[in-house]
């Protein structure tokens, strides 16, 4: 863990020393293909950076993957194929949007579950509030009458 962290810090420092995210010499000639490459690389994580996409990162690794994506797109692969290749090589870690799997089910359901639970709680609260106030018991009726008598008396 410590070694990994040291490596991360080193990578960050190296990254800061490198030139620029997408470099002019990386750009593909065909604007449509380049747009695809950009869109694809903004969905992928730079593995040595803090939550930066490959499209935004200055790290050498990100540069290599950007080049790889463009190479594969130029070879006529679809976005899905390129993505599948990268996942086979780097695992789900590279995807900024985690895939829907049993392990990530709870993550994806966090919003719908909260909404459903909240709606349920609101429904329960309104139901409880609508319940009629229970009628007074005989003893309470008597006490009420007593208070009323006292008031009249004063």
């Amino acid at each position: 863990m410590k070694a990994l962290r040291a490596a991360l810090v080193l990578a960050l420092i190296l990254a800061a020393g490198a030139a620029l995210a997408v470099r002019p010499d990386e750009v593909m000639k065909d604007p449509a293909l380049e747009a695809r490459a950009r869109a694809l690389s903004s969905e992928l994580r730079c593995m040595v950076c803090q939550n930066e996409s490959i499209d935004d990162s200055e790290a050498p690794l990100a540069h290599d993957i950007r080049a790889l994506i463009r190479e594969r797109i130029a070879d006529g692969e679809s976005n899905g194929q390129v993505r599948a290749f990268l996942v086979s090589r780097y695992g789900d870690f590279i995807l900024l949007k985690p895939p829907l799997k049993p392990e990530t089910l709870l993550l994806w359901l966090s919003a719908p579950l909260t909404l459903a639970l909240g709606a349920l709680a609101i429904w329960a609260a309104t139901r409880r509030a609508r319940e009629p106030t229970p009628a007074l018991s005989a003893a309470e009726e008597e006490r009420l009458a007593e208070i009323a008598r006292d008031r009249e008396g004063t």
Partner: protein, 663 residues
């Protein structure tokens, strides 16, 4: 010597905080007024001691006293004075001291201005505040002592992290901490209410000013952090869904929900238990954020140093306060009397929807931030949760919230008339729809999210304006009458209107990011490149020396149709002491948009690799946040009049009685 006084003051502050945490509680249980009053004096004393301690550390930094380890590691004699000062909190130990200083400040505020509060509630709240203070003071003293000496003292310091040598650092952390820590008071009052086992509309009135202060500062702090990232990171992104950013967003979302639910509680005596829960949640997220940032669980610019002892200590504090308050909640909340019921179509009904959406958005941010950490611990699987996930979940929920906002703001309390509100909002709705359709037509397909957001933004802004208009103006009224009516409206109404308008303005800025332009080019001197409606040309490339850095500067001119618009100087900044480089973006603000240029190291043949951006309306994102914070402040001004009101009314009555007694 002064450094030792600072250290000693901090130890004394811990002792005082422990007294503050215990004496008032005992006083309340025994009905001993004198013991209850100890809370106030202790809170003031704790503030004075922590302030003294902070001043001692600040002095060490300003005078570059390198015999102090903290100064030697995080400062340098050549650093400009402003960064010597902001360097006080540009490191782990100092930033924790700032945290505690602000915590003590809020405690002192309650002690100084809380005379109108019920004595028991105030004593309990100050005790809880004291306990939080004691925990963090102990944390500083045991694991992160900023006053540690270094012998022999080095000749010079190791410099402040270059990324932090920026005016942003001077402002961003204090603002953010004022927000984060401000919720501690709300938390303390919630815990006090639970301890007392009673809560009413008056509670909401006492707490709302503090919640509004915290919320306004947090809004500014988050916006400031976002702008800082925008101009320092060099590629024009302003929100990264980084865990550290999420850590500040969580309390903001919970705090926003709290400010709204507290309004319901104050006006309608409803949603009490829920409001208490939100108060606990908001501060728990502040603590969680502190843990995530300070423990070294995450590596980022914010995590200055990682020492496992610190992580465990903060985790213990976190577990104690969150689990403790939730246990208190589970035990005592059933005792609190439930409030009245209300019709679904009403202001309070809309605010429940607001709370539901905000809570769901908050839940996705919490899950998205913690899920990868938890999953890796449990199964060893590494996943990433990044921008696409959050945009799809929290982003959509917040857009839905924006759609509901104008309706909620225009509905009446108790029983609203949705049809009437829709009629009043018809102009705003129509304008939003026109903007949406026009943008779709103009773009011919393409992404729909940006046009939707733009249309919603217009709806929110105009919705706020039309509500003001409805309250102020009616056909046939003279301007003078309208002005009088406007002046008669409570400040909290103006605050609400302004805050909502601010949200709309920020949303408009966010939407406009979809209409920007980007050019990546190897630029030669004298050869213009186009980005959006502008041409940019490099005039010269040269070097320039700063006090503790060296710049490679490309001076550029922005032109539009041949006419000069602005000059910018993007640069690469090298810091020799730390062997690091940062990107200094060249930014020119044109109307509300910006031209943003960042450069890489020039090639041997003199070409400069550059990314050029045209970002229309981008400044609205942060201006909108400022307008929101201003709305919070306006609303606060209204409440403050009521805050001390009972005390003032009493003293006025007493004065009148004295006057009457005189012959």
């Amino acid at each position: 010597m002064i450094v030792e006084i600072g250290h000693f003051a901090l130890i004394l502050a811990l002792a005082v905080a422990l007294i503050q945490a215990s004496a008032p509680l005992i006083g309340v249980r025994r009905g001993d007024r004198a013991l209850m009053g100890v809370g106030s004096s202790a809170a003031l004393a704790q503030f004075a001691l922590v302030a003294l301690s902070f001043a001692a550390l600040a002095r060490a930094h300003l005078t570059s006293d390198f015999s102090v380890l903290n100064v030697a590691e995080n400062s340098h004699s050549a650093v400009p004075t402003i960064y010597k000062f902001s360097g006080v909190w540009g490191n782990h130990e100092g930033s924790m001291l700032l945290w505690v200083l602000i915590l003590a400040t809020f405690g002192a505020l309650v002690a100084a201005f809380g005379r109108g509060l019920p004595a028991r509630l105030r004593a309990d709240a100050l005790a809880v505040q004291g306990l939080v203070g004691a925990a963090f003071l102990a944390f500083i003293l045991l694991t992160s002592n900023p006053f540690e000496r270094l012998s022999p003292a080095p000749f010079d310091g190791r410099d402040l992290n270059p990324v932090l040598q920026d005016p942003g650092l001077a402002i961003h952390p204090p603002l953010l901490y004022l927000g984060y820590v401000g919720f501690s008071i709300v938390f303390s009052f919630a815990a006090a209410a639970l301890i007392e086992g009673r809560i009413d509309a008056a509670w909401a009135r006492f707490v709302r000013p503090f919640a509004l202060i915290a919320w306004s500062f947090l809004t500014l702090g988050v916006a400031m952090g976002s702008y800082w990232a925008y101009y320092t990171l060099g590629w024009g992104g302003f929100w990264f869904w980084d865990p550290v950013e999420n850590a500040s967003l969580m309390p903001w979302l919970a705090g926003t929900a709290f400010v709204h639910s507290a309004a319901v509680m104050e006006k309608r005596d409803a949603l009490k238990v829920w409001t208490i829960f939100l108060a606990i949640l908001a501060f728990s997220f502040s603590l969680l954020g502190t843990f995530l940032v300070r423990s070294g669980v995450l590596t980022s610019v914010h995590a200055f140093a990682s020492d496992p002892r610190r992580g465990v200590f903060i985790l213990l504090i976190l577990a104690f306060f969150i689990a403790g308050s939730l246990a208190l909640f589970a035990w005592r909340a059933p005792l609190l009397k439930q409030g009245g019921l209300f019709a679904p179509i009403s202001r309070e009904g809309a605010l429940v929807v607001n709370n539901l959406l905000l809570t769901a958005a908050c839940a996705t941010v919490v899950f998205g931030t913690l899920y990868p950490l938890a999953l890796e611990q449990i199964t060893g699987d590494k996943i990433t949760v990044g921008a696409p996930f959050f945009n799809m979940t929290a982003g959509l929920l917040l857009l839905a919230l924006c759609f509901v906002t104008p309706f909620g703001f225009s509905l009446a309390w108790k029983r609203g008339d949705l049809l009437g509100v829709a009629q009043r909002l018809s102009v705003a709705l129509a304008a939003g729809l026109v903007v949406f359709v026009a943008l779709i037509a103009y773009l011919r397909g393409g992404p729909v999210l940006a046009p939707i957001a733009a249309g919603l933004a217009i709806f929110v802004i105009l919705g706020s304006l039309s509500e003001i208009a409805t309250r102020v103006w009616r056909p046939g009224l003279s301007l003078a009458t309208a002005l009088t009516r406007a002046r008669g409206l409570p400040l909290s109404f103006w605050g609400g209107a302004l805050a909502h308008m601010g949200a709309g303005i920020a949303l408009l800025g966010l939407a406009a990011t979809g209409f920007g332009a980007e050019t990546i080019a190897a630029m030669r001197v004298g050869v213009p490149k186009t980005v959006g409606p502008y041409e940019i040309v490099v005039n010269t490339v040269g070097e320039r020396a700063g006090p503790n850095y060296r710049d490679i500067v490309a001076s550029m001119t922005i032109r539009s149709g041949g006419a000069f618009v602005a000059a910018i100087e993007p640069a690469r900044r090298q810091f020799p002491t730390r062997q690091m480089a940062t990107t200094q973006a060249g930014i020119a603000t044109i109307d509300f948009g910006q031209v943003y240029v960042s450069i890489g190291d020039p090639d041997a043949d003199g070409t400069v690799p550059a990314r050029l951006y045209w970002k229309p309306l981008v400044t609205l994102i942060w201006l909108g946040a400022c307008v929101m914070a201003l709305g919070g402040a306006l609303s606060l001004a209204d409440r403050r009049l009521r805050f001390g009101a009972p005390a003032r009314a009493k003293s006025a009555a007493a004065a009148a009685a004295m006057a009457a007694r005189r012959p």
